[in-house]
């Protein structure tokens, strides 16, 4: 089909089978390799992107399903205050090691903090429960996001 959708704010059109995974279309056809494949089964969250603002596993979305919709990937999180705080704090806390999980974490964290700037540590853990990390042990990720949340609320970095 001729698929048309908004990708990171730009209208995009390409010819694809509607049955292909959004993940593959992003990585293979559109060369947006920030989005990672971990499990390919919806379990790990490495492939998380936003469709119409909602966090979804791009390995479980058929390409046809984004026709006319807005897709935001890790490349399109932009330079707003929340996205910047998430990126900077993940780096400064050591919330990323091998990096496979990091794009999915960043996408989920930006969605979480844009919608729930007052999210508690527990709530952040709940919102990111679908993002598996095999390296960091999670504490540093949650520390980073708690700090990013505080920055977002104007409480300043440490």
């Amino acid at each position: 089909m001729n698929l048309r959708f908004s990708l990171n704010g730009e209208q995009t059109a390409l010819d694809v089978s509607p049955w292909r995974r959004l993940l593959d279309v992003l990585r293979e056809d559109l060369a947006l390799t920030g989005t990672k494949e971990g499990c390919g089964e919806g379990e790990c969250g490495a492939c998380t992107v936003l469709v119409d603002g909602e966090a979804v596993c791009s390995c479980l979305v058929a390409a046809g399903q984004v026709e006319g919709r807005e897709v935001r990937t890790v490349e399109g999180l932009g330079d707003g205050a929340v996205a910047r705080a998430v990126r900077e704090e993940l780096v400064s806390f050591g919330g990323t090691q091998c990096g496979i999980c990091t794009p999915g974490i960043a996408v989920c964290a930006v969605r979480a903090l844009e919608r729930e700037p007052d999210a508690s540590r527990d709530r952040l853990r709940e919102l990111l429960a679908g993002n598996i990390c095999r390296c960091t042990g999670y504490q540093l990720i949650v520390d980073a996001l708690e700090c990013a949340a505080a920055r977002g609320r104007g409480e300043g970095a440490e």
Binding site: A55, V56, A62
Partner: protein, 283 residues
């Protein structure tokens, strides 16, 4: 070439279903697409995700609740309609997968996949829910959940039908509700077992108990013997023990990778007893 169709109305969806029973019905894709890319592409896709007439929760004129088949778990969690009645559905929804799955997974998908570990299914049994099925030729019909699920991953849905809604009759005043899912962790875990239960007290005695059990048989089942053991008795320790014994006689759980039969039986009987004790607590 796979055709892609996204109907905007129920009529359109039913017409496509009748004309192309061989097309794949796709909603959130969280069951279908787990292995979807490993099978040959289907001749066509009918995308029901975000089909507005099938999405959301509303109160019907007769006081019953109507939940559209394309309602997502996130929709359930954010809806204010029927908050009290749906407390156990919300509790189940909160524990399904994680955010990304809750954002896409739908009630209709859970019903049609009809897995013995489908988390919403015991809830429908406990709430006395009916499944609404619709076709272009025959219109809508409603079947009780027990009649909808006809066996291991089997349903009563015909090839020209779609699941369009779940309806829940208005509850009797004073109904108490209970939900427990036992898994390895809170998020992203497949249930070892689940129990959904409702009942109320009438003059201090248990009335209209409904127990839905998941992952304890080849399909979600009512705990009929447990219900009989509780009905008409006070919510005391004696009844709790009777209910637990009745359950042990009623089910023969299986050993599998997720848990042992022993564990399942012990936990399930403990949870049934806990539900009886809950009924004794002030509302």
């Amino acid at each position: 070439m796979t055709a892609y169709l996204r109907p905007n109305t129920l009529e359109e969806a039913l017409a496509v279903r009748e004309a192309h029973p061989e097309y794949t019905i796709l909603a959130g894709g969280t069951d279908l697409l787990v292995s979807g890319h490993r099978v040959p592409p289907p001749p066509g896709i009918v995308d029901l995700f975000d089909l507005r007439p099938l999405r959301g929760i509303a109160r019907d004129g007769d006081g019953s609740l109507r939940l559209g088949a394309a309602t997502t778990y996130l929709d359930v969690l954010s809806s204010d309609t029927g908050r009290e009645e749906l407390s156990i559905l919300r509790a189940a929804a909160r524990e399904i997968g994680a955010l990304q799955i809750q954002a896409r997974g739908t009630l209709g998908g859970n019903l049609v996949t009809s897995s013995p570990v489908g988390d919403t299914l015991p809830v429908w049994l406990a709430l006395g829910a009916e499944v609404e099925l619709s076709s272009a030729g025959r219109g809508a019909r409603r079947v009780a959940y027990d009649a909808f699920c006809t066996g291991y991953r089997q349903t009563d849905m015909a090839p020209d039908e779609l699941v369009t809604a779940v309806t829940i009759p208005p509850p009797a005043p004073g109904t108490r509700r209970f939900w427990r899912k036992v898994g390895t962790r809170r998020a992203q875990s497949i249930s070892k077992l689940m129990i959904a239960a409702t009942a109320r007290l009438e003059n201090g005695l248990i009335a209209e108990p409904r127990i839905g059990l998941g992952a304890l048989a080849d399909r979600p089942i009512r705990g009929v013997a447990v219900e009989r053991a509780m009905a008409g008795r006070p919510p005391d320790e004696d009844t709790a023990a009777r209910a637990a014994r009745a359950l042990a006689a009623e089910i023969t759980p299986i050993d599998d990778v997720r848990s042992s039969a022993d564990y399942r039986l012990t936990v399930a009987t403990n949870l049934v007893a806990r539900f009886v004790r809950l009924l004794a607590e002030p509302a």
